[in-house]
């Protein structure tokens, strides 16, 4: 699929845009539309956040007050929960647009489809991933993490959750219009997301062990940059195939 998406994007992005079609304004309009919908459907938007908080909170309750053990499992638990929570929210990234016909309008827009996908993914991350990031220091308290480790956890999620959203956009695009898309989406995306999990949780582990975290953050940042460029192209190509 890589070659297909590359040629597809070349025709998409490479075309000239007249001054009458401001691409940035279109992207902003799509971004604001999706945020507005997320705000008006708070029950849907909040469910991933509530899932995240509950799953993370179950572990201290189940394990009991063994601070050493809790501290050691905190990074992994929070990261795995974040991974599952973002899968939960991703299923509807393109499904609603597909059902109501707006996805066809996006495909027929003179604005390049990968950029529209990027705008949608950004709005989606703001309404789901960012909330997980913001609430994570509070959850870290339950695991007796120190202030520094909690800060590293938050920073690792801040770098890592956009990657999860971007990878998820590919999966959501591939499964759009399919029955049972949610499970298939997880099967497709979770293996791809394991490097993010390893380096995200690894950063917190390193911080707890008193080691430097620069290497982990560099790798996370690199993954973010690569997925920022490639994931919208791949998702756009997948959407074109899915709507044939």
């Amino acid at each position: 699929m890589g070659a297909g998406s590359a040629t597809d994007s070349a025709t998409d992005v490479g075309s000239a845009h007249g001054p009458d079609v401001p691409v940035a304004a279109t992207l902003l309009a799509v971004f604001r539309r999706d945020l507005r919908i997320a705000l008006r459907r708070r029950a849907d938007t909040g469910s991933a956040l509530v899932f995240f908080v509950i799953v993370v909170s179950l572990f201290p309750l189940g394990v009991g007050p063994q601070f050493d053990l809790l501290r050691r499992m905190a990074p992994g638990v929070v990261w795995v929960a974040a991974l599952l929570a973002s899968m939960l929210a991703l299923g509807r990234l393109f499904a609603d647009d597909h059902a109501d016909g707006t996805l066809e309008q996006m495909l027929l827009s003179p604005t390049p489809l990968p950029l529209l996908v990027l705008a949608k993914t950004a709005a989606h991350w703001l309404a789901s991933g960012l909330l997980l990031v913001l609430v994570s220091p509070l959850l870290a308290l339950q695991f007796d993490l120190g202030a520094q480790a909690a800060l590293v956890l938050m920073a690792s999620l801040l770098l890592g959750t956009p990657v999860l959203s971007l990878l998820g956009a590919i999966g959501a695009a591939l499964t759009v219009g399919l029955r049972g898309a949610g499970v298939l989406l997880s099967l497709l995306v979770l293996p791809l997301a394991t490097p993010v999990l390893i380096f995200g949780a690894g950063a917190v582990d390193a911080s707890l062990a008193g080691l430097g975290v620069e290497a982990h953050f560099s790798v996370l940042g690199a993954m973010l940059l690569v997925s920022l460029v490639l994931a919208p192209l791949a998702a756009a190509a997948a959407l074109r195939i899915a709507l044939e």
Binding site: D20, V21, A29, V30, I37, E104, S109, P112, L116, L243
Partner: protein
């Protein structure tokens, strides 16, 4: 299923304008069924092409093909003499496609929906123009309700309100008269006539002949 194409008489006093949209030997296969093949048609400025056919004959598939949403199993679609995929962005700027889903977001108001739809199509109408278009569509007083509470006909009107806002030359409309009442049908016919007068082109699916005046050229393509 053989396709027949019957064009109404060209006016004798003017030479025919060059064809802008050409369908060459199109074939459509869905699953294992061949819906149609050997389909040829041309569309010139100021012409309306009505696609008719039984349910499941491939009308929507044909519209999706000539928008570039679906690749034809065989044959070519040419826009100004060039293959669609080579002129995709330029073609899409000249196109408004309204499928049988109204492309409305239930949580947004008709006004918000209209603004985003126009933006996606490459137009940037101001609020006054958008409100006027909605009022003309018979939706005044409902601009700020969520689209979820609109009736089927009102949803269709809200989607069609986009037509006068854009500068697109080609309108591709899938069953545009469905769910419309008499007043809305007359309003849509007026929009189509004005569009054809400007040299625009319309492709639509409809089971009944479109009630345009004698002045406008109407071709019929039976699948």
């Amino acid at each position: 299923m053989p396709a027949t194409s019957a064009s109404s008489a060209e006016p004798n006093d003017a030479p025919p304008l060059p064809a802008v949209l050409e369908l060459h030997d199109l074939a459509c296969v869905r699953g294992r069924r061949r819906l149609f093949r050997g389909l040829n048609a041309t569309l010139r400025p100021g012409q309306l092409l009505r696609v008719s056919g039984a349910n499941g004959a491939g009308k929507t598939s044909l519209l999706r093909m000539l928008c570039g949403l679906m690749a034809p199993a065989q044959g070519r679609v040419l826009w100004q003499g060039q293959e669609l995929k080579r002129v995709r962005d330029g073609f899409h700027r000249q196109l408004i496609y309204l499928g049988h889903a109204a492309a409305l977001k239930d949580d947004l108001t008709p006004l918000e929906n209209l603004r985003v739809a126009a933006r996606l199509g490459g137009d940037a109408p101001d609020d006054a123009a958008a409100l006027q278009a909605l009022a003309d569509a018979g939706l005044s007083g409902r601009e700020h309700l969520p689209a979820r509470v609109l009736s089927q006909g009102q949803r269709r009107r809200a989607a069609l309100a986009r037509l006068p806002l854009g500068a697109a030359r080609l309108w591709v409309l899938d069953e545009p008269f469905n769910a419309l009442d008499t007043a809305a049908t007359a309003w849509l016919l007026g929009l189509i006539e004005a569009h054809l007068d400007r040299g625009g082109m319309v492709v639509l699916t409809s089971h009944q002949p479109v009630g345009l005046g004698e002045r406008w050229q109407q071709c019929c393509l039976a699948l």
